[in-house]
């Protein structure tokens, strides 16, 4: 019966209808993370690693022949991409990062042999040692030049390449995108929905009815959680079908973790919107809360890159906890016990944000 009093159901239905009748909202929840996953997945798909561009400065006179000879030796390296350049142009290229290493012929000692000939005319390697690819290029270039000049290897080495699934960038990315999406959807849908209702005096109108306030808030959370399963299915499904990112752990644990994550961000969304009166105000506040987590919580790159000193702080962020747990479950197949610490962090955030939000919530 349509007119039977099921207020919680009616409120939840209202929330879902508002959401699905907003095409932009659907785009941000479903299409955007997919586009991001596909774009980044393609950009970082499996292929031979790029060669590192280096430059060799053309010398004058005898140096010119030596440079050509050296360039030929360097070109045999599978790692380097060699370009011969005019000295001035080469310095410029190094400074702007178009090449990672610049090799210049040094001053010849009087009567010495030509460079590269193993004599006393040195090669000068110019590079920025904070750049990892420059350091690789330096080692590789020296190795190539020394071999060309006749150095013999003393120890035999054999290379075996590993391309195990789970170690690729897309394997890293998919769990991060799921976490990011759970955060964005949870915070935006609660914060926007509630603030709009407050701004339009709808909250005030609703509390003038016998509606139970807890029903309203619960409906906002339920209206968001309804979309959790399709959202998860889309991201996990596309990751699996398009990129072969398989879930190694339990799907059940993945769902429970995502549910806890979604709840936590609903709580934060509720907290953000508990007193704000305008959409502009809530946008600013939501961005303020989310931006640090976009950067720090290991969505696009590992959070371990940040200094040790801030690691405890980063690990205490809800998105870091969620991403770490999701990664553990999806790529490493960890059991519940192994992600318990992260789940505890999430649960703490969840409880805290709901408690504070309900305490300070403004209905007018």
């Amino acid at each position: 019966m349509s007119d039977r009093p099921w207020p919680l159901l009616q409120l939840t239905l209202a929330r879902i209808r508002e959401f699905v009748r907003e095409p932009e909202a659907l785009f941000w929840v479903f299409a955007f993370p997919l586009l991001l996953a596909v774009a980044l997945g393609l950009a970082f798909r499996d292929k031979a690693p790029d060669r590192i561009p280096i430059g060799i400065a053309q010398g004058a006179g005898a140096g010119q022949a030596a440079a050509a000879q050296a360039a030929a030796a360097l070109a045999r390296s599978p790692v380097l991409l060699v370009r011969t350049m005019a000295p001035r142009e080469a310095r410029e290229a190094l400074r702007t990062g178009r090449i990672s290493l610049l090799i210049e012929p040094g001053e010849a000692a009087a009567g010495g042999a030509a460079p590269g000939g193993g004599g006393d005319r040195p090669w000068i390697f110019r590079f920025d040692q904070t750049r990892p690819d420059s350091r690789i290029a330096r080692l590789e270039a020296e190795d190539a030049l020394q071999r060309a000049a006749g150095r013999a290897d003393v120890v035999a080495v054999r290379t075996e390449l590993v391309t195990e699934k789970g170690s690729r960038y897309i394997d890293f990315l998919i769990p991060g995108l799921i976490g990011l999406n759970l955060m964005g959807t949870g915070i935006w849908s609660l914060a926007f929905g509630i603030t709009t209702a407050r701004q339009k005096q709808l909250l005030k109108r609703l509390v003038a009815t016998p509606m139970r306030r807890s029903h309203y808030l619960l409906a906002q959370v339920l209206g968001r959680l309804v979309f959790l399963l399709p959202e998860l299915a889309v991201l996990v499904g596309v990751g699996w079908l398009a990129f072969g990112v398989a879930v190694r752990g339990s799907l059940w644990l993945l769902f429970v973790t995502s549910l806890l994550g979604a709840m936590t961000f609903c709580g934060l969304g509720l907290l953000i919107s508990s007193r704000v009166r305008t959409i502009e105000g809530v946008s600013g506040l939501a961005n303020l809360v989310m931006l640090p987590m976009w950067l720090l919580s290991g969505v696009f790159f590992s959070s371990e890159r940040f200094p040790d000193r801030v690691q405890p702080l980063i690990r205490a962020l809800p998105l870091t906890a969620l991403n770490d747990a999701l990664r553990g479950i999806i790529t490493e197949g960890r059991p519940a016990a192994a992600v318990a610490a992260q789940l505890a962090v999430l649960a703490a955030w969840c409880a805290l944000s709901f408690l504070v939000a309900l305490r300070i919530f403004r209905w007018r």
Binding site: W6, P7, Q10, R17, K200, Q201, L202, R205, A208, T209
Partner: protein
């Protein structure tokens, strides 16, 4: 804005209201910062009547109504609605009330019927949403999103949301402000219909015509206080002038000469015209025309109307109800 707590009287709770009283308040005060919105206001709404708060914008009508609705806590004063205070009534009281606020925008994405079902779901008893929708002539818009409705339709939907819980008492805040004449008539008809079913209505308005047509009793409110109270007929009769003559002449006649005319109770300016409150037209108009004749002036404008609540308000405050 800070919302101070209800300042309850330390004495024993007031005796329960007589059954014929639907709403009673006394000594209401509410200030917002420096602005005193309600300044010691008392009133009583009887069961089954339509009671109007009439006053200009900013007179404190909306604040008063929201205090009565239990949405705003007064700084001082007592409120009793359907025999209970808000502190003791709470949600049980809300079950028996319907209301339309002045500025609510219902969710634009929901349809008319969805909105009504939502509001219906909050009440234990109520009327079928379809019936209420038909009553307010919204059935053609049944499946239209609220965002696509006209102003009049939105206003009717707001009233429908107020009626869907089958209330005993209806609060309407400026229900017809900004509506076209036809929508206004439709709403008036719905209020009358509600009262035929035994309902009580308290409304605010700054349209004297609305107050006269709809209300059994009217409180004229200015600066947060009731400055006059009675039936529209009583209030108008208090002018001792049933009609108003408005005229302009070339050259103008002095005020003193107009006040001396037979049957003229009051004289005031209205733009370029003089307005004379007269006991009767049959005495007042000939006297005025004779005076114009005597002065050798030419009549530029002459019109008359029955005295209205607007004239009462002007007589009481010296200001017009709506400054336009």
């Amino acid at each position: 804005m800070p919302e101070s707590l209800l300042e309850t009287d330390p004495q024993a709770p007031p005796a329960p209201a007589a059954p014929e009283v639907a709403v009673r308040c006394s000594g209401l005060r509410k200030r917002y910062g420096e602005v005193v919105a309600v300044d010691g206001l008392d009133l009583e709404v009887r069961r089954g009547e339509c009671f109007g708060l009439l006053g200009p914008n900013g007179a404190g009508k909306t604040t008063t109504l929201e205090i009565l609705e239990g949405l705003t806590l007064p700084d001082a004063g007592e409120v009793e609605v359907l025999g209970a205070t808000w502190a003791e009534g709470g949600n049980a009281l809300r079950q028996r009330l319907g209301l339309a606020l002045q500025e609510t925008q219902l969710s634009a994405k929901l349809t008319v019927i969805e909105t009504l079902r939502l509001f219906r779901s909050f009440y234990l008893r109520g009327r079928p949403p379809e019936t209420v929708m038909a009553r307010l002539a919204l059935d053609e818009k049944r499946d239209s999103p609220v965002g696509k409705l006209s102003g009049g339709q939105k206003q009717r939907l707001a009233v429908a949301c107020a009626l869907v819980g089958d209330p005993e008492l209806l609060f309407l805040d400026e229900p017809t402000t900004g509506l076209d004449p036809q929508s206004r008539l439709q709403l008036w008809e719905q209020v009358a219909e509600f009262r035929r079913g035994g309902g009580t209505v308290a409304l605010t308005t700054h349209y004297m015509e609305e107050a006269e047509r709809l209300c059994d009793r009217v409180a004229i409110v200015d600066h947060g206080r009731v400055i006059a109270l009675g039936t529209p007929a009583e209030l108008i009769a208090s002018l001792h002038a049933a009609d108003v003559v408005e005229f302009a002449s070339e050259p103008e006649l002095p005020r003193e000469s107009l006040l001396r005319l037979e049957g003229v109770r009051e004289v005031r300016r209205h733009g370029a015209n003089w307005m004379l409150a007269v006991g009767s037209l049959t005495a007042g108009v000939p006297a005025l025309l004779a005076a114009v004749e005597r002065a050798g002036a030419r009549l530029a404008h002459l019109s008359t109307h029955r005295a209205t609540l607007e004239d009462v308000f002007v007589a009481l405050t010296g200001r017009a109800l709506r400054e336009e």
